[in-house]
């Protein structure tokens, strides 16, 4: 649980350092003050770093304290569920432009519906998948004239 609590402050410290390094590597501006583009991100990265360090130090006060949400997150089944959902989101991202909106959405929705609701509710899963995919395709492509792949 403590590792999860430490994860965000450490992540933000890493982000601040990356931001500072990237900013220091920026080319000098040809127009105006050559360092102009660097000031703001540099100040931001310093601010982010300092507050994240303070936060990291303050985090130890929470060590050992119960947190229902964190407990629920760290259950094996939760991690598995979240992992599968994120993996399906990534899969959707990869196939979205390759196979087109309609087919990729049907695959994604069907997979996620069957995963969450089980095989027993196959009728509900199929109806929701087809109705949502079809109606969103119709609304966005035809009514709103948004070009989808």
């Amino acid at each position: 649980m403590n590792a999860v609590r430490l994860s965000l402050p450490i992540f933000f410290i890493v982000v601040s350092l990356v931001l500072a390094i990237l900013t220091l590597q920026l080319p000098h501006a040809q127009l105006g003050n050559p360092y102009g583009p660097m000031y703001f991100p540099l100040v931001v990265s310093i601010g982010l770093f300092l507050f994240s360090v303070i936060d990291l130090i303050k985090t130890r006060h929470y060590f050992g304290k119960e947190n229902e949400d964190l407990k629920a997150l760290l259950k094996k089944e939760t991690l598995f569920t979240l992992g599968v959902i994120l993996a399906l989101c990534l899969l959707y991202t990869l196939i979205f432009e390759r196979v087109g909106f309609l087919l990729s959405t049907v695959i994604f929705l069907a997979a996620i519906m069957f995963f969450l609701n089980g095989k027993k509710k196959w009728m509900l899963n199929i109806i929701v998948t087809l109705v949502v995919s079809g109606s969103s395709w119709y609304v966005f492509s035809y009514l709103l004239e948004i070009s989808l792949p």
Binding site: V4, L31, A72, V128, S133, I146
Partner: protein, 503 residues
């Protein structure tokens, strides 16, 4: 004030197509608001793509209708199942749910809808009288004034994370950091784009908002969601409130409207604080103090009126100065920019028709919402029973479509997923989201104004004394930052006093 603009606005708002969008927005908003776990910010975020390809005025009407529709809907789930849709409808659970337990669910919902209507209408008058002078006032703002205005807005939002100010600063700096990605407008230098062409225009803050709110919320609800309690449609009871309830409600409604409006106008305060403040104020002055928490109608109508009023109030800083007063108006601001409406003082000068149509549509929309909420109680109860495991995949799909329509690139899908995971952890570890969103939105403008001001004034300190406005805004910023400290000192002082009295 030119009356012809008002009448033109009313005429445009009454056009069948705009009325249709208004009704659709009100219904969609109510549905989104009533669904457990989805707040107005998420609702507006996932429904943004609907506004693309629309006339700007229709888009604005639709979005505003979704916004206050979601607020109406949010209080339905508070009253019926003791589960607030978002922070602003928490106060509605205090007496709304006990009313349901007393078999007065129908009456609670109808009087709450009436309170929202009156609060909303009061705030619309406030909007008319405050927004235009404020927009004219903001026309005089130069880079230094804008810079300090941004400082104040950010400080107000961070200060609201009482007890969590360090985390508020972190998310604010994170938002400012993300806002620096893309081409630097003053020098043409590519900053942190990793040679990805899609990043040259920066990362769309709407994608991040959808990711953090919608995807983050779906992931969070996968394990943290308490299954919605079952609602028995037959126990709604009488649909219309009694004369006695109305007599007890009218004064609290009229008192709470202005409270909500003025708190709504302040950046960051939004509906949560205004509804809680309206509740506690009413509790203090009410003759029926003992009934509060057990189903006192005053305890329900006061926060409802304030909440609805705050929603209209929070549109003022968003439309006049492009500073969102709440998470939902932040999302709306992003969507407006995407469809070519640039909020700011010039909006009132260049497009008065748009502003007046919105105001008139808000009047009509509030009335439509009362009708929807009272006439469709049975349907709303059924919607409340939507299984989350059917709902969340739909929210995911709408989020992906929304992200795609913003930039027509699946790179935004990756950003969406990453923002969702970060949003999940922020929720779990109590990192406030609003400072991040506000910083992300105003970051670019803030930097540009800072650099312009640095060119105009020789010394940075000269910016502070550029005009009385900058001094006032700087003082307000200072006050915001020291606000939690002041509260602490006051509490300590009153504790000491109590001790002295005890002795």
């Amino acid at each position: 004030m030119d009356l012809s603009f008002v009448l033109d606005g009313l005429w445009t708002a009454l056009q069948p197509i705009n009325l249709l969008w208004l009704i659709i927005g009100a219904i969609l908003g109510t549905i989104v608001g009533i669904l457990p776990g989805l707040g107005p910010a998420t609702g507006v975020a996932v429904l943004i793509p609907l506004t693309f390809g629309m006339e700007p005025v229709s888009a604005l009407i639709l979005m505003a209708a979704i916004y206050y529709g979601a607020l109406f809907g949010g209080s339905r789930s508070s009253i019926l199942i003791n589960t607030p849709g978002d922070g602003s409808s928490i106060a509605a659970t205090f007496d709304g749910y006990p009313m349901t337990k007393n078999g007065q669910a129908g009456q609670a919902m109808s009087i709450a809808a009436m309170a929202s209507l009156i609060g909303g209408v009061m705030a619309i008058f406030g909007f008319i009288f405050l927004a235009i002078p404020l927009a004219n006032f903001a026309l005089n703002f130069g880079p230094a004034e804008y810079l300090f205005l941004f400082f104040f807005a950010l400080s107000a939002v961070v200060a609201l994370s009482i007890g969590n100010m360090v985390k508020g600063f972190i998310t604010m700096f994170l938002g400012l950091g993300i806002s620096t990605i893309g081409i630097d407008l003053q020098s043409g230098v590519h900053r942190h784009t990793f040679d990805i062409p899609h990043f040259t225009e920066g990362i769309s803050f709407v994608v991040i908002i959808i990711g953090i709110y919608a995807i983050g919320e779906v992931l969070y609800n996968m394990f943290a969601n308490k299954q919605p309690k079952d609602v028995d449609g037959s126990k709604i009871g009488q649909k219309w409130f009694t004369k006695e309830q109305w007599r007890r409600s009218i004064a609290p409604i009229l008192r709470s409207g202005p409270i909500g409006f003025f708190l709504g106008v302040l950046p960051g305060s939004g509906g949560t604080i205004s509804s809680l403040l309206a509740y506690s104020t009413e509790k203090q002055i009410s003759k029926n103090k003992k009934q509060f928490g057990k189903g006192a109608v005053e305890g329900l109508v006061a926060p409802e009126s304030a909440n609805s009023s705050a929603a209209v109030g929070s549109l003022i800083p968003m439309l006049t100065m492009a500073i969102p007063g709440s998470a939902t108006t932040a999302v709306m601001l992003g969507a407006l920019v995407m469809i070519g409406i640039t909020p700011g003082p010039l909006l009132f000068e260049n497009s008065p028709d748009l502003v007046w149509t919105l105001i008139n549509s808000m009047f009509i929309g509030n009335i439509i919402l009362v009708i929807i909420n009272i006439a469709m109680v049975g349907v709303l109860v059924k919607i409340l029973k939507t299984p989350p495991k059917v709902l969340y995949p739909i929210v995911l799909i709408l989020s992906f479509i929304g992200a795609y329509t913003l930039g027509y690139s699946t790179i935004d899908f990756y950003i969406l997923i990453i923002a969702g995971v970060i949003g999940l952890f922020m929720r779990l570890l109590d990192y406030p989201i609003v400072p991040l969103i506000l910083a992300l939105i105003v970051g670019g403008e803030m930097e540009q104004n800072l650099r312009r001001a640095l060119v105009i004034y020789d010394q940075p300190v000269d910016m502070l004394f550029a005009s009385p406005i900058t001094i006032v805004l700087a003082l307000l910023t200072l006050l915001s930052f020291s606000y939690p400290l002041i509260i602490k000192l006051v509490k300590r002082a009153s504790k000491n006093k109590d001790h002295t009295v005890d002795l």
